[in-house]
């Protein structure tokens, strides 16, 4: 018999019940809750007269709707305010801890979980948000769920699930200077496609993955969903344990010892078999920039916008042409010839301290191009903001002409006031370049924080390795 994959181990250790047809009840250790996908779930509980099964497993935070400016004035958008207030009321009624908008621990749900040690190796982690895959960076089984499932987890602490197939993405070599986990994620998506991981749980492994910091692994796992995989994960190693140790909700003393002994087993066995194996050469990857309206529409900074006319598949050809029309780009335009109007550094993909340091290092002593109308940094949490300020990063950003904002999802999905105007082009460190994602008619190019900073300085995309 072959060994077990990390995914097998995580699945097996959370199995409460399984049916002959393969559907199963999976126990959920951690439930992250935010304001957008939870109100209807709490309402469902109320209507059915149900209680929350284990309120201490849940943690709530408003992030999608919160303003990133003038927070002392509260939320001026009445519809957004009602949604955020509803989260507060629901948490109070059902006994769930919430980090409110003005709590220093508030931030993007996928940033604060790991930051507080609420995300631990070996856990099942769910949230009504597709980027829950982020938490897989800790050797956890983490995936996004819909609102009906949010209600289901609140009521039963379980999910009805069915085991995915397993895929291993093995990254050889090492990422070059100026090439980040974001570039790796985009290059992988460019290779497998946005549906390449559909039906799979992906384990990222290999020397170039082991060399990533936990922040980098979070960026990589965060984007697993953009490859179609509900869950992405990285095995536990010393770096994982070092990151977790000392976090507020992490175990201590003898309990830590017990936990560590189990966590160290959370790796795929050497003889484990995967349903699908993909190999990527990390040494070959250059900084990536998306050119279209799907994350798979991506190319290296040294390349050009492709010509859809060259695409063999008819559906891809028409989608490619539609994307170029939407993006206002001509085929074969060099990527470095694309000018940007706005720059957004933030989101659950790239708003951690390491991301801010990388962007600040590029900006140091320079100023954004006059043609860039707005450049903004939105830290992932209040604590990251505080740390960045302690390191003086805010001063570098401000001196470079960037705005330094309060934490939240912000212009990744533009549910608050931060958004693109129709036709505006943005270098964004977020995760989706869909039509209208950052504002109706807005045009998004996904890049790493360092590449976003470099684009802000030049006024167009440039190769950050030349800085």
């Amino acid at each position: 018999m072959s060994g077990q994959t990390l995914y097998d181990k995580l699945w097996q250790s959370h199995l409460v019940h399984s049916e002959p047809d393969g559907s199963a009840l999976l126990y959920i250790d951690r439930h992250l809750v935010h304001e957008v996908t939870s109100p209807q779930a709490f309402e469902g509980l109320r209507l059915a007269g149900r209680k929350v099964w284990r309120a201490t497993s849940a943690i709530a935070v408003p992030d999608h709707n919160v303003p990133t400016l003038n927070r002392e004035q509260g939320i001026t958008d009445v519809v957004s305010r009602l949604q955020v207030e509803t989260l507060g009321r629901n948490c109070a009624e059902f006994g769930i801890v919430e980090y409110g908008m003005n709590d220093v621990r508030q931030g993007i749900v996928h940033v604060i979980g790991p930051e507080q040690g609420l995300t631990l190796p070996g856990m099942t982690v769910v949230c009504g948000d597709s980027h829950t895959s982020t938490h897989g960076a800790f050797g956890a089984l983490a995936f996004g769920i819909g609102t009906s499932e949010v209600e289901h987890v609140l009521a039963t602490q379980c999910l009805v699930a069915r085991k995915s197939r397993s895929m291993r993405v093995w990254v050889t070599g090492q990422l070059g200077v100026g090439v980040t986990a974001k570039d790796l994620a985009l290059a992988i998506i460019g290779q497998v496609g946005t549906a390449g991981g559909t039906g799979y749980a992906i384990e990222f492994a290999g020397p170039a993955v082991s060399a990533l910091s936990l922040e980098g692994r979070m960026t990589l796992c965060n984007m697993a969903i953009e490859a179609g995989a509900r869950a992405g994960m990285v095995a536990v190693d010393q770096a994982t344990l070092d990151y977790v140790r000392g976090r507020p909700a992490a175990p201590t003393g003898p309990v830590w010892e017990k936990a560590e002994a189990w966590w160290r087993t959370l790796v795929s066995d050497e003889d484990a078999q995967f349903d699908c194996e993909v190999t990527v050469n990390g040494s070959d990857i250059v900084p990536q920039v998306t050119w279209g309206t799907s994350p798979e529409m991506v190319v290296g900074i040294t390349g050009a916008v492709p010509d859809p006319g060259d695409m063999l598949d008819a559906v891809k050809r028409s989608d490619g042409q539609r994307a170029l029309n939407y993006m206002g780009l001509a085929a074969r335009t060099p990527i470095t010839a694309i000018a940007v109007d706005k720059v957004f550094i933030g989101s659950c993909t790239n708003s951690r301290i390491e991301d801010l340091r990388a962007a600040a290092a590029v900006l140091k002593g320079r100023h954004k191009a006059a043609s860039v109308k707005l450049a903004m940094v939105v830290p992932g949490s209040g604590l990251i903001k505080r740390q960045a300020e302690a390191e003086g990063l805010d001063k570098l950003f401000l001196a470079a002409g960037f705005e330094w904002r309060e934490p939240g999802c912000s212009m990744c999905l533009a549910m608050n006031a931060d958004r693109l105007e129709p036709g505006e082009r943005c270098a964004a460190t977020s995760n989706r370049n869909f039509e209208g994602r950052q504002g109706a008619g807005g045009r998004t190019h996904l890049v790493s924080p360092a590449m976003a900073a470099a684009a802000a300085l030049a006024g167009h995309f440039v190769d950050v390795r030349d800085f």
Binding site: R54, G146, T194, R322
Partner: protein, 212 residues
């Protein structure tokens, strides 16, 4: 949940791959704390020529005549025919809420994104995966035959074309049972109350750090 057993419905073709949930229901409508009323904003940015905001009277908004859902021949459609990776992106269940609220009950594509696919079954929608060749043929037939309808029989797991051709499809047994009967998962899961409690009790011993 609304049960679905069998229906004969008009087919509307949406000829695009990778239709994401931001396109199905744009973010500004996610601020609602209700579960209903999303149908008028389904595919909002493609369907209307102006910019959609919550609370508008959509009957007064200018329609995009080029968008397929606005064409008179497809009014009242219950079956959406589309391309690969439908429903990708955000996990928002507002997407299936909008689709169901609009009046669609069956979605047919060569593939669906995982979270969206799962969310459909919680809302009385049946997503059906067919091979790309069959999808291509259905697109052709839909375009040349105005009023093109399909009969969908969930019990038998088959689609019957107007010419009488039968196309079979797969569906998970548990999801099929729930959809045929209109059952919600929570009640079914709570039948395993004892097992959940037993698992939890053991886990408190094995992994006490999860319960502190």
């Amino acid at each position: 949940m609304r049960a679905l057993t069998e229906l004969t419905g008009l087919v509307v073709p949406l000829d695009r791959a990778n239709v994401d949930t931001d396109a199905i229901i744009p973010k500004q409508f996610l601020k609602s704390i209700l579960r209903s009323g999303f149908g008028v904003n389904l595919f909002d940015a493609w369907r209307y020529l102006d910019q959609g905001e919550p609370g508008q009277d959509c009957s007064q908004r200018p329609l995009n005549p080029d968008f397929v859902l606005n064409q008179s021949r497809y009014q009242g459609a219950q079956v959406l025919l589309t391309r690969e990776n439908f429903g990708c992106g955000s996990s928002r269940e507002h997407a299936p809420w909008a689709i169901a609220d609009y009046g669609l009950r069956v979605l047919i594509a060569p593939s669906f994104a995982d979270i969206f696919y799962n969310n459909c079954f919680k809302n009385g929608l049946l997503p059906i995966v067919l091979p790309a060749g069959q999808i291509e043929r259905l697109f052709q037939e839909t375009s040349v035959h105005p009023g093109y309808q399909l009969r969908v029989d969930l019990m038998k797991q088959e689609i019957v074309t107007p010419a009488g051709e039968i196309l079979t499809f797969d569906v998970d047994a548990h999801r099929k049972l729930c959809l045929l009967n209109g059952w919600d998962d929570i009640g079914l899961t709570l039948q395993h109350l004892g097992e959940i409690r037993a698992y939890e009790a053991q886990r408190k011993i094995d992994a006490p750090w999860l319960f502190s």
